[in-house]
Structure formats: C-alpha cells, structure tokens
C-alpha cells in the first residue's frame, strides 16, 4: 500500500493489483480504481498544464466535470485517443496514459512563459493581437499557437474498434443511479412498468453509497447501508433493466434519448479484442425521470488552480470510495455544510483537517458534530492567496468584512498539502434543458432549477434542487407517484434523519487585498479564463452572456463549462448590477459528455457506410477492366482502358469506335418510372414543357421537366407503351427526386387525375448500342425483325424476343448516332449484354463508359442536366425554345418563363466555345471574360463541359455566357493561372447538325 492509500473500502479490490503507465512511468493501482484515484494513491496530483498560461494543474474532481486531468491514451501509437478524463477511465492492466498540453514535458513547460507575461494576455488577446499584421498570421502566429496550444493528438489510423447501435423502448427511463434514481426505478418497476435505469459509473449508488455518516440515517440505518440494501432489492426486479457504465448523451423531443454504453473500455487489453467497444442506445421512453444529481461548485479566489486544490466532495469520494487520501494535511474551504462531511470523514480516519468557512456560523447538526470532534473552524474567513508551484503548500486567509465585499484584519498563513473547496452545488439541469425545458432561478441558494411543464418528464433529487437527504427521499417518492399515477410508492412511511443547512451565503468572486487585475482567480480552468477576463469583457461592452462566453472562451472547452458557467453568470450579474435570474443561461447542447465518432457512426463504416448500387452487368465490366465512377449510389463504368491507356487515351479510342463502327453502353442506371392510368397523357402534358397528346402508341419523345420557378429540373425520353401506359426515363441521379416530385403533384395538386407511378429503375437492364453498324448488330440479334427506317423509325419502340426472353427495343439516341436501347428484365441483363458483345464482334463493338458518353453527346450539343445546368437555367437560356409548347395552357414552371427576370436578355445562355488553338482543352468550371484590361474583371460566364473531340479532331466546349445567344463568332477569353486562352463563341451543335447520322 502506498502512503496515500489509507482506507479499505468495498469498492476497490485491494487484492487485485493493476499496473499502468503515466507519462512513461509505471505505477500500480487496484481493480476498481479510476486512473485519477490510482494516480492520487501514488501521490500524483500534477497531470497537465493549463491551456493558455501553461500553469501546472492537478486532478480537481472525480467525474465528468473534470477540467484538468485530460489525458492522451496510448500516446505514440497510431490509434491514440485524446481528451479522456482521468476521473472517468476505469483502470485496467496495461493502460498507457499521458498528460496533454504540456510540450515539451509535464515538469518543464516552455509555454509556462505565458504565465509570466500573462498581464499581456487578457480576454480576446488572440483575437486582438494576431489580427495584425496579416502577413504574420500564416508564418508566425499560427505555428506558434499550434505548437504551444492544442488539446491532444488525433489518431492517424482508422478506428479498429467495433461500435454498435441498438433501439429500445420502455415505459419509464430513469437517468442516474443515485439515491433518487434508485427510488424512482423501484417505484416504477414494482408497478409493472418496463423500466430502464442508466448510470454512467460502474456501480449504482451515487454519492450516498459512500456517505457513511451517523448524522444521515434512513429507517434506522446509515444512509449508505440502507441504499446498499435497496440496490440488492432492485437487482431482483424482473421488469427493470439496469445499465451501468452508460451515460446519457442527448435528450431530444418526444422522449427520444441517446445513451452511450461503455462495454469494453474498462477491460484489460487482452480481453478487449474482438469485443464491441461502445454501444449507442436509442431509447424511446414513454416517461423519463431525470435523476442526474448535482455538481459541486469551486470557489473563485486568487490562485485557486494549484495542484492539490480539489472539490471537497471529490476529496470525500477518493477517501471513502477509493480509499485514497488526497492529502495528509488538509484544509477545507467552504461556503456550505456539505464540505463538513468531508472534514468529518478525514478526521475519523485520523487525517489532519481544518476548515475555513465564509459564513459567520452554521447551526446544523453536522457542523456541531465537527465542532465537537475538535476540528478547527475559521469562521467568516476567506482564502486570499495560495502558494506552492507544482503542489499546494500553504494558503493565506483573512476575515471578511460585514457585507462580505471586502477583507479585513491580518493575513494568516496556514500550511497544507490539499485544499478541499466547496462553493455549493449546481443541479445538473443539462438533460432538462436539452429536452426543451426552461429554468427558474432560486435566490436562496443561487441555483437554477428546472421549471417543469412537460407531462412526460420530471426531475428528481439534487438535479431538481433538492439537496438534503430527507427532501430527496420524500420528494422523489411523492413526485414519482404522482407522475406515474401510482397510489403506493413503497417509500411512503420512510423515516429520514439528516443534518439540515440553515445558514447560507454565497460570494461569486471572493474579495482580496490586491486589485483584481493582479489576481489569477480562475473560473474556467480548462480554457484558462479568469474573473478579470469577464470583467474586461463587460467593460469593453459585451452584454449578452453568449457573447461574453465566446469572447473570453469561458465554458467553451470540452467540459462545456460544467464548473464555470454559474460563476461567470454570477460575476456578470454582480458587476452589471442586475439580477442573476434575468441574465438567462447559456444553452447546454448535446452531448453531455464527449462522444466518440465511433459511437455516433456505429456499424455504418467501411462497406456499410453507403449503399452501393450495381447493375446486373456489373461483373462483366469488372472482368473487362472497367474503371468506375460513382453516380449517386450507382457504380457506372467510366472507361475501359486497354494496355495501360489513361483516361484520355481510352476515351479517344472509345469515342472514335462509337462513331466509326459500333459502341455499347450500360444504360441500366437511368431512372425509369412506369406511368399508368386513364389520365397518363394529361399528366405528362402537365409535367413536361412539350405536348404529349398526339404521341402515338409505340413512339418515344424527349421531354424536359422544369421546376415551378421555370428552371430545368430533369430530362429524359418517355415511351408510350399503350393507350394508358408510358415508361418515363430520368437522369441517373435525379430518379428518386423526380418520382417524389411527381407523386407530390399527383397527391396534392391534381388528386383528380387517374395516374399511378411505379419506380422500375431496378427492374430493367439496358444495353445501348450505337454507331453506323448498330443496325447490323441488331439484325443479327433479332433476325426476324424488320429494322428498316419505315418499319422501325427513329424515336419509336418495339417488343422483341431474344433467347425466349421478352425485351423492349427503343430506337433513340443520346450520342447523335444511329442507336438502339434494348431493355430486358434485370436478371437477364448480363446475358443480353454478352449476346450483344458476341453479335458485335465482327464490327469491333466497343464498350464505352460515361466519359465517352459525355463526349459524344457534347459533340452533338445535347445537355446534361446538372452539368450544363445548375438550377438557374431556363429552357430558353439553353436555346431549347423548340421544346416549350406555346399552345399548352399550363405546365409546371410555365408561368415563371414569363417573369421579368427569366425574360432578361442578359441571362447566362448556352453556347459552344472553340479554342483558337484546337489542341487547347479548356477546364470545366473556368471563368470567361470579354475584356482582359478592365478592372475589376467582369466574369460573364463559365465553361460547363469540355473535351477533345477525336471525331472533329479539335477541342470543343459548352459554356454559359451572359447574352451568349447573340455572340456567335465573338472572341472571348478564358483566363487561367499562367495564361489567357483565346476562344470563339460558336454554335453548340458541333457535329451533324442535320441529323444524318441518327437516320443513317
């Protein structure tokens, strides 16, 4: 046993030694320890350096509010984890932890220079100083700040751990396994309600479980013994699920809550492997009872941040729960009774303790008891300074003036090695506010308590502002009964004896002899902001708490101001002379404690990150060396390189083959919507810009769909399969949205139409064969079919049979070549494709990908919605007036085409661009200007599509240019980083303007 492990407790198994390293040095603790209690048992307080001034900092608490003991786990490995609170890590064999934010080392810290120059680092220092000169930022300020600041290192390798998500429903969810949570859960579960109790620690019991004081008695037992018994009763209940090591992350509306369960973090390294690390529970609860407890407040005085200054109740927990004394010569500095329990505990174990209390007296039982034990109490006194660099050595105290605003008399120095501080308690109202609840300010003890309006959740225990044992037990019982509509609580006749606090006093910023500007009274320990900073912010004109918070960074660290928010508010209220309740509070946002990315993402990693959609022909593409591109969730062949061809080479070859002989494209990903119903034609008339009434059965037509604002939304070919039956195709990426939009109109605007829409995108596979030899290949595939232009003209469709499989053949073209699309049920897609390849062999049929498809259509001047349009282009802008029906009374977007803005002549309009140097290929997205010398340079448009055309043997581009319609032949410039490219506006149909090829 070490010098500081002075007590045997039932919570730490002192027969089971656990070894770990901290900053490279090996130590021992026991099973049941946290990293913090194990460090303290080895006499280690100094665990980090503060963020701004790099002051030595020690362990300050025993829970999630810990601002200082922030560790890096498994430092020097690729899987290191930063920002872990030593107070929350359960010790396991092989744990490697190191202190954070202390380059180059914990004991010698170069950033400590900031501490010496600190008069020059007031609030907003970084904002003010590093603003100027601008050129200093990149090379001097930023590297300097980055080197000395920082909250830990990120891992560099993918997280190898497994994380899980699970949904759960229950009647009652109880958050917090302290005494009030245990009472609540028992009442609920005993009354046949499916109940879940979650507790973030590894065992239930909260702070009552180690209370162990004869001034706190429930039903004639010490409170901790009584509670121990209740817990074993609780474990026998069938309809109660107890989840320890599970912390609430978020409390959303409609009682939807997220809780993170730690499953293997506490296990020794060799037992972690393969196990799930954390599980995120998604709980929908009918009723929620929040029993989250309270956090002890620090006190704000000069040099209140030295290692060895610890919250008083944490000192008690280390002693009575972990058996570790945080000091051998303790002083308690308090403004309330709760810290006296710590004093009594220390005294009873024979450890030296004295008390400094800012109150003039206290007449409660516990204080009387401490007095009777002979513990020295300095009444009406405050600490004005502390000493000791890496560990506290002594303090100076003075008397308070009558009103507490000043100090009087002489300084009195007292030696100590631990200063236990208590500024009272702050109810953990985070959950309540996250759920949308409001707060009320209670003057008597200066706390925000929940203002309860919700019918579906309540707060009980100290998070509700009930701090005394009798209040907690009785109020919880009554409140839960009423909330759950239960007559018999089971705790109705309970007797509770406890000490009651009668005298209350609170001073947010304790007075001193020296001026504030010369003190270091820390409020936010993690972000190093002081009372002085807050006052400066107020002097500089900041009024709103949200602004003061951001300017001084108070409450902005990873602890979200759990220890600092109340003091910041209090000092603002005092300085501004307003009531604290009128200031409002800052917003507590989820998560309550930091969540790992792994827990948030769960199993949706790697191949489960997103759905991959593959066509039925996919395997053939893979076998034939296709490179793929993602189009939405689809994998589409991009190009098929042969013998180390690059993209450009492959595309040039594929494009030439498609125009000279035959090419084949997997067009299965195009969206397909089956449209049926007696009003199908009328429906198409309303959703497309052109007219559909006269389209004969067996014919195909290209359609352009607008948004109601007149902008092009989607396009595609629709085929009339029967009198009341159409097959619409959409762009690959737009399929789902088009269906939603059409459904929306059908259901909400035109419910009178008899039309039914069905997505059949996945039902059919499509092989598109184009090129001058395509007709010959089709003849080979379908020997009995007449492919003459008379029997099977362009823009028509026919049913056919291949290998006893029914298929639909559409003669339509997106390339400008003679072209056929063959559709079969998806399961026959690959077989159809292989037939096509075999039949096309003698014509050197060449599979081509999306890149070649884009090039071929650009040669022909066909747009791609989403590439040549961006939601701001009308059909008129695209020079597609021909497709906008003048006769139809209405269609989606029609009225908008006559708005004054859409009729402007200087809108960006689609044009072709030819580079003066035919080998120069423009960059897509490049800006276009008309004058190079004019400053500022006016951007008049940009390039939307650009390729080198092997068929025309020159570079071609599509672009949108202001007033471009009237600029044919005009010279423009495309300025690039190193040169200006001269271009000429041209027609955007570069090839075969009179459609000879399509009808070849």
């Amino acid at each position: 046993m070490t010098k500081y492990r002075i007590n045997k407790t039932r919570f730490v198994d002192q027969t089971k030694t656990v070894s770990f390293t901290f900053d490279g040095k090996k130590y021992h603790g026991f099973e049941g320890d946290t990293l913090a209690s194990a460090l303290l048992s080895n006499g280690i307080h100094l665990v980090g350096r503060s963020f701004k001034y790099h002051r030595p900092r020690g362990i300050m608490s025993c829970g999630s509010e810990e601002p200082n003991a922030i560790c890096q786990i498994n430092d020097n490995t690729d899987l290191t984890e930063p920002n872990v609170r030593a107070t929350e890590i359960e010790l396991y064999e092989g744990l490697k932890a190191s202190s954070q934010n202390c380059w180059p080392s914990l004991n010698f810290d170069i950033g400590g220079i900031n501490n010496l120059i600190s008069p020059f680092i007031p609030a907003g220092f970084y904002y003010k100083t590093f603003m100027w000169p601008k050129s200093f930022w990149k090379k001097i300020y930023e590297p300097l700040i980055r080197l000395s600041a920082g909250l830990g290192k990120s891992p560099t390798q993918p997280d190898p751990d497994i994380y899980d998500h699970k949904h759960e429903h229950c009647d009652v969810l109880v958050i917090g396994g302290g005494i009030s949570g245990i009472i609540s859960a028992k009442i609920a579960a005993k009354n046949n309600l499916k109940t879940i109790l979650i507790e973030d620690k590894n065992i239930l019991g909260g702070s009552t479980i180690y209370q162990n004081n004869k001034n706190f008695i429930i039903d004639n037992k010490k409170s901790n013994e009584w509670l121990m018994n209740e817990i074993s009763e609780l474990e026998k209940l069938d309809n109660l699920i107890i989840k320890t090591r599970t912390s609430l992350a978020a409390f959303h509306s409609y009682n939807y809550l997220l809780a993170k369960e730690n499953i293997s973090d506490h296990l020794p390294l060799d037992k972690k492997n393969g196990s799930i690390r954390q599980r995120l529970w998604k709980i929908r609860a009918d009723k929620v009872i929040v029993a989250a407890g309270a956090i002890e407040r620090p006190l704000i005085f000069n040099n209140n941040d030295r290692p060895g200054i610890i919250l008083a109740n944490s000192v008690k927990k280390y002693l009575d729960f972990y058996g570790v004394s945080t000091g051998l010569n303790n002083i308690i500095f308090t403004n309330n009774d709760s810290a006296y329990e710590t004093a009594v505990s220390l005294f009873e174990k024979g450890i030296s303790v004295k008390i400094v209390d800012i109150r003039k007296k206290s007449s409660s039982n516990i204080v009387k008891y401490a007095d009777e034990l002979g513990i020295k109490i300095y009444w009406n006194s405050t600490v004005v300074n502390t000493f000791g660099y890496k560990k506290i050595k002594s303090i100076e105290i003075m008397n308070l003036s009558e009103d507490g605003s000043n100090v009087t008399g002489n300084k009195h120095k007292i030696q100590c090695d631990c200063l236990a501080i208590s500024g009272g308690w702050t109810p953990m109202v985070h959950m309540h506010t996250q759920s949308g609840g409001k707060l009320d300010f209670r003057e008597i003890d200066q706390v925000f308590v929940p203002s309860e309006k919700s019918e579906n959740h309540i707060n009980v225990g100290s998070c509700n502002g009930d701090f005394e044992l009798e209040e907690i037990v009785k109020n919880t019982n009554n409140k839960v009964k009423k909330f759950l509509n239960i007559n018999e609580g089971g705790f109705d006749k309970i007797s509770v004896l406890c000490s009651k606090e009668l005298e209350k006093k609170n001073i947010w910023l304790l007075p001193n002899t020296i001026s504030e500007s010369k003190t270091k009274s820390f409020i936010d320990f993690q972000n190093d902001s002081t009372a002085k900073d807050i006052k400066l912010a107020l002097r500089e004109g900041f009024k709103s708490i949200e602004h003061v918070k951001r300017y001084t960074t108070t409450g902005m660290a990873t602890d979200q101001g759990k220890l600092s928010n109340m003091h910041a508010l209090g000092i603002i209220a005092d300085t501004a002379g307003v009531k604290m309740g009128s200031l409002g509070t800052t917003t507590f946002r989820p998560p309550f404690t930091p969540l790992t990315f792994g827990a948030i993402v769960g199993r949706s990693v790697g191949k489960f990150f997103d759905i991959v959609r593959k066509t039925s022909i996919h395997e053939w593409h893979v076998q034939n060396n296709a490179k793929f591109e993602n189009v939405g969730q689809w994998k589409r062949p991009w190009y098929y390189p042969i013998n180390n061809e690059n993209l450009h080479e492959a595309v040039q070859r594929e494009s030439k083959a498609a125009r000279d002989s035959a090419g084949i494209l997997d067009a299965s990903t195009l969206g397909k919507i089956d449209i049926q119903g007696s009003d199908a034609s009328e429906f198409l008339n309303r959703v497309y810009t052109n007219s559909w009434s006269k389209l004969g059965i067996g014919k195909c037509r290209y359609g352009l769909m607008l948004n109601e604002d007149g902008m092009v939304y989607d396009d595609g070919v629709t085929t009339r399969l029967g009198e009341n039956h159409y097959l619409m195709t959409t762009t690959t990426g737009g399929a789902a949205n088009v269906l939603s939009k059409l459904e929306d109109y059908l259901q909400t605007e035109w419910p009178e139409l008899d039309v039914y829409l069905t997505s059949v995108t996945d039902h059919y596979s499509t092989a598109s064969i184009c090129g001058p030899n395509s007709k010959k290949i089709l003849k080979k595939l379908f020997p009995n079919k007449d492919f003459s232009d008379e029997a099977f003209p362009h823009m028509s469709y026919q049913d056919a049979i291949i290998d006893e499989i029914e298929c639909r053949i559409m003669r339509i073209s997106f390339t400008g070549e003679l072209s056929y699309e063959i559709n079969v049920e998806s399961k026959y897609g690959k077989s159809l494709w292989e037939n096509c390849i075999a039949a096309g062999e003698e014509y050197k049929i060449t599979p081509y990908g999306t890149e070649t498809m884009h090039l071929l259509r650009a040669e022909k001047g066909f747009i791609i919605v989403g590439q040549d349009t961006d939601g701001t282009m009308t059909p008129i802008d695209l020079q597609m007036d021909w497709i906008v029906s003048k006769k139809k009374y209405d269609f989606i977007g029609k009225r908008s085409l006559y708005r004054s803005d859409t009729m402007r002549e200087d809108r960006k309009q689609l044009v072709g661009l030819l580079t003066d140097d035919p080998n120069e290929i423009l960059e897509e997205g490049a800006q276009i200007v008309s004058e190079l010398d004019k400053k500022p340079v006016e951007m008049i448009g940009h390039v939307t599509s650009s390729y080198f055309s092997p068929n025309l043997n020159k570079s071609i581009a599509l672009a949108v240019v202001k007033g471009g319609k009237k600029m044919n032949g005009q010279k423009l410039f495309v300025p690039m980083e190193n040169k200006n490219i001269n271009v000429t506006v041209s027609d955007f149909i570069f090839l075969d303007k009179d459609n000879k090829r399509i009808n070849a």
């Binding site: 409609y254 939807y256 909400t748 009374y889 009225r895 908008s896």
Partner: protein, 91 residues
C-alpha cells in the same frame, strides 16, 4: 425526433418522414392570368412561424403518402394530423 402519427400507417419515427414546408398553398388554377407579383407570392413567399404552423409532410420511407400536420415549431408539439384535401382543424 418526434413520433408522427401517419394518417395511413399510424405512429412512426420522424426519420421515416420528410417535411414539405407550409401547407394549404394552392397552385393557382390559371397562372397565366396572374401578375408577376401574384405569381411570386405563390412561388416564393412562405411563412416561418414560431408557434403553430400548418405543414405538409410525406411518409417518404413508408407509404409515400403526403398529408398535413399542425405543429408548434417552438416545442414540436403536434396538434393534429390530417389527410390531403381534408379541412384544416381549428387550433
């Protein structure tokens, strides 16, 4: 994350639904007779009320039906859910 009572399917998690904005904006029957201002009123102007708001919702990952919902945007309380074409309730 609310629970929405789809008028066709019953109570489902909010993640199955998508919101389609303000409800009861009827597409004009004769758009060509409207002035630019009148058309713009239909096209662009939407309320963003803190409080009770009438909204369109779609059970996108369910029955795919559109319906109307009355929701208090300040506390997400849902006052009513009703089918398209039905009269809005008085709240």
């Amino acid at each position: 994350m609310f629970v929405i009572n789809c008028p066709y399917c019953g109570e489902r998690d909010q993640s199955e639904f998508s919101c389609g904005g303000e409800a009861h904006i009827v597409r004009p029957k004769q758009p060509t007779e409207l002035s630019d201002d009148e058309w713009a009123e239909y096209l662009f102007m939407r309320k963003n009320i803190k409080g009770v708001q009438f909204e369109r919702w779609n059970h996108a990952h369910g029955c795919r039906k559109w319906f109307n919902m009355v929701r208090d945007t300040s506390n997400d309380k849902i006052h009513a859910v009703y089918k398209m074409g039905e009269k809005p309730p008085v709240i």
